[in-house]
Amino acid sequence: MRDDDIIVLKEPELTAAERLYLPQILDGLKTTLRHMFDLQRRRAVVHQYPEQKREDTGELRTANYHGVHRLNKDPDGRVACVACFMCSTACPAHCIHIEAGESPWPDREKYPVKFDIDELRCIYCGMCEEACPVDAIELTPLYELVSCTREELILDKEKLLQVYEETKAVKPRKNPPVTDYGLTGRQSLDVAQPNVERKV
């Protein structure tokens, strides 16, 4: 670092009136009052939530909104997750609980027997989505997460798959089954054409 890289900022010199604070305070009060009586602006800016929703006005960015999770299905309707535990490892809130089992299908080794996400512990950071090698877990634009008990908000595999069914219209699965990264060779073929019978 050279000397002339350093930019030293000095406090601006204040005039005597500014040092007394009062003119500034009055100025600030003026601004506050102006906003207070600016009905038009208020009407233009505010969404009256339960009646007006952002998805209705097209202002919700459905493609990358961080809402409730879903577990994607592959074209055969099977759960796309291969129980690799990448998401639960990446999760900073430790809210993904997976139990893996041997896959009944020939094209993958494992599949999740149980897949629970505690939506109340989740901080909706999207790390799980980033981590997943097969894009099985995704965050959806659903944000109305309400229940009467905490237990109801621990979503299990069935519920997560159901969320996929509900949201695939507004947010199609991000990538086609063949991801353009990471998968090579036989495995990639398996994922690309899962219905073709192959010898294991």
Partner: protein
């Protein structure tokens, strides 16, 4: 809510007619009950002590419901200044929000953490609320009154709860008592953030007690009495409010009152961004609500005090009935007083949503390096004026204030100390021309 009954109730409450109708009905009912029971309490109205008790009961009810309205107003003003609507769901225009808030506070789980000092933890919120309520005793709400059924030569009754000789000395004492609640809460919570909040409150109140006292002393020198009702009567008699004599003193008292009530920009004891919740971090449900109420009650007390001291109490020029002590004159005066208090509260709220919070060293600097010297200088000037017998002379007082202001401006213009007060022991760095 999908329950149709609930839905129906909700839409019903949103209708203005329903809300105002219910309000009017309740008001009518209360008036009718009071009228029916009139023979019962009529004898009580003629003597000072029982009358004071009645004033106490009425004003207490009024103040406690006023705090509820204040909280709604605060949230509305907060919303409006930020281009939002504020609460507008519960009832028409959100008017039932205070009810919903109160219900929520009552029904919430009341948590007492295991690590707290339990007796003090329980005592603190009660103390905070009680101490701020105590101040109401000496506010002269509506001057004096003589009921029509009293003999015409009987001395009129005072609408103060207690007409103390020591007047606002009592208010000073009680006002600083409320910091006990805050400090105790901070100490008893056994939580470092709460403790910081309590310590800040203590330091802040000690510092701002001084300018407040100095400002009040100026009024004392002018009026020559400590009794609030006499101060108000003096202002009403001459028609010259004390604000016209001593605007600088009023400013001192206003700033200190903000600080004493822990209102922004002096809300350091509960600074959410630094201290979680400050002294009430560990409090929940009704105990938290009591701190909340205490803050608003304190705000109302300080407003009422300032109105009495500087804005002529119930006096407004040209208002009918100022001279006499009939019951309708009392009502007129009461309305005038309450209107002024409401205006002050609105000012407090606007200030809160306008100004950012002071840093703690700035807070101390404002008190000790600016307000206290100004207060001492003003006090000295007023003392001289009083010695010369000119203390009621508007021009002399204004000249003294103006002189003070000019001296201040000059010294401010000369001072090279940065206002944001970078720590003075940091090395001075030069600005180099950027290549």
């Amino acid at each position: 809510m999908t329950d149709p009954t609930i839905k129906r109730i909700e839409t019903l409450l949103r209708k203005p007619g329903v809300i105002f109708g219910a309000g009017a009905a309740i008001l009518l009912l209360v008036t009718a009950l009071l009228a029916l029971a009139f023979p019962l309490y009529k004898p009580l109205l003629s003597a000072q002590f029982p009358f004071s008790m009645i004033v106490l009961a009425v004003m207490l009810a009024l103040i406690l419901s006023a705090t509820a309205v204040c909280i709604l107003a605060e949230r509305k003003i907060a919303g409006f200044t930020q281009d939002r609507y504020g609460p507008n769901r519960v009832g028409f225009w959100g008017l039932l929000q205070p009810l919903a808030d109160g219900l929520k506070f009552l029904l919430k789980e009341d948590i007492i953490p295991r690590h707290v000092d339990k007796p003090l933890f329980l005592l603190a919120p009660a103390l905070a609320l009680a101490a701020s309520l105590l101040g109401f005793a000496i506010i002269p709400w509506a001057g004096q009154v003589r009921w029509p059924w009293m003999p015409p030569d009987a001395p009129p009754l005072s609408t103060q709860v207690a007409n103390l000789n020591v007047g606002f000395l009592y208010l000073l004492a009680v006002g600083s008592l409320s910091v006990y609640g805050v400090v105790l809460a901070g100490y008893a919570s056994n939580n470092k953030y709460a403790f910081y909040g309590g310590m800040r409150a203590a330091a802040q109140i000690i510092s701002y007690e001084l300018p407040l006292g100095l400002g009040l002393l100026v009024v004392l020198l002018v009026s020559g009495t400590l009794q609030l009702d006499q101060i108000v009567q003096q202002q009403a008699a001459t028609g010259v409010w004390n604000i016209f004599l001593h605007p600088v003193a009023f400013f001192l008292v206003l700033v200190s009152a903000l600080a004493e009530a822990n209102r922004a920009p002096f809300d350091l004891p509960e600074a959410e961004q630094e201290l979680v919740g400050g002294y009430h971090t560990e409090y929940s449900a009704m105990k938290f609500a009591m701190f909340f109420l205490g803050e608003y009650v304190h705000m109302i007390t300080s407003s009422a005090l300032m109105v009495a001291l500087f804005f002529g109490g119930w006096h407004v020029w040209g208002l009918p009935g100022l001279e006499n002590v009939t019951w309708w004159a009392m009502l007129v005066k009461l309305v005038a007083y309450l209107t002024k208090v409401a205006l002050f509260i609105a000012l407090f709220m606007l200030v809160r949503w306008t100004l950012p919070r002071f840093r703690f060293d700035q807070l101390m600097r404002v008190a000790w390096q600016s307000l206290v010297p100004i207060g001492v200088a003003l006090l000295a000037a007023t003392a001289v004026l009083t010695y010369l017998g000119w203390q009621h002379n508007v021009w002399a007082s204004l000249a003294a204030n103006l002189l003070l202001l000019v001296v201040l401006l000059r010294s401010a213009a000369r001072s090279k100390r940065p206002v944001t007060a970078r720590q003075d022991d940091l090395p001075e760095v030069d600005v180099r021309p950027t290549a």
